[in-house]
């Protein structure tokens, strides 16, 4: 498989707390990876380092062989990196359609246009509507995003994350707070986007049912380090992983 992302010895500390401690990781294109680990293992911090929310204290990152360590978050998005957030992060006062339109306009470099109304961006609107139909929110395009149910907001956030047509997309707990039906909808969408849009997804999840039903590859983190990585069957049998998840059925 083609290498998409390479992280070498990435480290980040907050005061005395070492959140990510010399992580080295390679993510190939097309492999759906799950990052798991107990609370405080450094999963979300690692996503923040890769997507540009934080700069690492040390280490380097390459995306499609290009050094991205010091690029701003928005520059990484234009290189093909995208993400969702652990706590839902949408544009609450904008309509559902406008929520998707923002990343689509951004990818098309049309956000600075000021000489005509946004409704005239017909190509971008058509693309945003297509994404809305795919995530099942096609009938709610004029609803303010803040008025959606929690489940629909999760779907919308997934739509915003795929709006920039990323090659690599990090989803931070995409099934958090969802009902079983909503959860299966989200999982189905991730599979669909993975296959049809050629987006490589990396999910951070606590729900092991989701992880083992979805992931091709699992990275286990503990105390800021990579404890183990491998295919689900191998991780399930890994003694060190079982000790970290003592009492939990993998």
């Amino acid at each position: 498989m083609t290498e998409l992302l390479r992280i070498e010895r990435a480290a980040k500390r907050f005061g005395e707390f070492v959140a990510v401690d010399g992580v080295t990781l390679t993510l190939p294109a097309g492999r759906l990876t799950a990052i798991i680990g107990p609370n405080g293992a450094g999963k979300t911090t690692l996503i923040n380092l890769v997507t540009g929310a934080f700069l690492p204290d040390s280490g380097v990152m390459h995306f499609k062989s290009e050094a991205i360590t010091h690029l701003a978050a928005h520059q990484r998005v234009h290189r093909g990196l995208s993400r969702s957030f652990q706590i839902i992060n949408i544009f609450a006062r904008l309509s559902v359609l406008e929520n998707i339109l923002i990343p689509v306009l951004s990818r098309r470099r049309r956000t600075a246009v000021s000489f005509h109304v946004a409704q005239r961006e017909t190509d971008a609107i058509a693309e945003a509507r297509q994404i809305l139909r795919e995530i099942g929110l096609g009938g709610k395009e004029n609803v303010p995003a803040g008025a959606l149910s929690h489940g629909d907001q999760r779907l919308l956030e997934l739509g915003i994350a795929v709006g920039p047509a990323p090659e690599l997309c990090f989803l931070d707990e995409p099934s958090s707070g969802l009902t079983p039906v909503e959860r299966s909808t989200v999982l189905e969408l991730i599979r669909k986007f993975s296959a049809e849009r050629r987006t490589t997804f990396v999910i951070v999840e606590h729900d092991m049912d989701v992880v083992f039903s979805l992931a091709d590859w699992i990275v286990v983190m503990n105390r800021g380090q990579v404890l183990a990585e491998g295919p689900p069957a191998e991780i399930r049998e890994n003694r060190a992983v079982r000790e970290v998840y003592l009492g939990e059925d993998l």
């Binding site: 544009f91 006062r93 904008l94 600075a112 303010p144």
Partner: protein, 316 residues
């Protein structure tokens, strides 16, 4: 955005309003015309402020600084070169440059830090207006600012010295500024600014360089403040330091809060109410600010989203 009036209702109403404004000098006396100019100038000032606050989520307490730069810039040029176009354009350009330069420093921060920085920069401009006597005239200000003719050498020269004539300059430029802002807030840029207001982090991770866009909004707001100031100087024939004071920055804040921050027309309606309420109160008491404050508190408590929220459509 939600909260839009039906075009079937607004289009004829706006046409009537604009017609009424053009006929005003023919049907009203000098004072209503003067008051209309004050309202239009505050409306332009407030629209710029609301691009920052209502659309981008940045509360500036220093807009009077750019208002003053526009007013002093216009006054200095008009005192040297009696050409209204040059005077107003120069004032607007000076305010735009000042807003851009101070914006580079200000937009690095958000929330209260941004507000405090803008307050500090606004008061620095106020201090300059007081202390830089050679340029600003100090506490005397700049007096005798002429309502110079609209002059294009070799082509035309229109005198606007009379108040009724100058009114049309204020009216036309204000309407153009309002139309430009209306177009801007409905454009992809306007939509992006609203996204920044809702979640700057989400916007950045949608691929938008948020700080640059905040700087654009800050500069445009400065240009609008500068235009308002540049129009005021020839109207009052004088420019003095209090126009740069933070209390002047409060005027667009109050007008916008009264009218509504989430509707395009809110700051315009707020500017109208601001002057009408003030005008009524000062007829009865010299302590107009106290009563004005009471009314503003009542309006904000009664209509937290502003007067214009009465007309806003409910989300379906």
């Amino acid at each position: 955005m939600t909260g839009r009036l039906s075009p079937r209702f607004t289009t004829p109403l706006l046409a009537l309003l604009v017609l009424g404004l053009f006929l005003l000098p023919w049907i009203a006396g000098r004072y209503p015309v003067y008051l209309a100019m004050q309202i239009l100038i505050l409306a332009v000032f407030s629209l710029g402020f609301n691009l920052l606050f209502g659309y981008t989520g940045l509360l500036s307490f220093g807009q009077a600084g750019f208002f003053a730069v526009g007013a002093y810039g216009s006054a200095k040029i008009l005192l040297a070169v009696p050409n209204l176009i040059l005077g107003i354009a120069g004032g607007v350009a000076a305010a735009g440059v000042a807003a851009f330069l101070l914006g580079i420093l200000s937009v690095r921060h958000t929330r209260i830090y941004f507000s405090m920085l803008t307050l500090a920069f606004g008061m620095m401009i106020y201090s300059l207006a007081w202390k830089w006597r050679d340029f600003t005239g100090g506490d005397d200000g700049l007096v005798g600012v002429p309502r110079a003719p609209i002059d294009i050498p070799g082509l035309l020269s229109i005198s606007v010295a009379a108040q009724d004539r100058y009114y049309y300059v204020v009216l036309v430029l204000s309407l153009l500024a309002i139309a430009a802002m209306y177009r801007l807030v409905r454009s992809p840029l306007g939509l992006t600014l609203q996204a920044i207001r809702d979640s700057e982090i989400r916007t950045e991770f949608a691929g938008v360089p948020v700080r640059k866009y905040r700087l654009v909004a800050f500069t445009i707001a400065g240009v609008y403040a500068g235009l308002a100031g540049a129009l005021l100087a020839p109207l009052e024939n004088t420019v003095t330091p209090p126009i740069a004071h933070w209390t002047m920055s409060a005027e667009p804040v109050l007008a916008t809060l009264i009218g509504g921050i989430h509707t395009f027309g809110g700051p315009i309606v707020g500017a109208f109410l601001f002057f009408v309420i003030k005008d009524i109160i000062v007829r009865y008491t010299e302590y107009w600010l106290i009563w004005f404050g009471v009314i503003v508190v009542a309006l904000v408590m009664g209509f937290p989203s502003g007067i214009m929220s009465i007309f806003a459509q409910r989300p379906k």
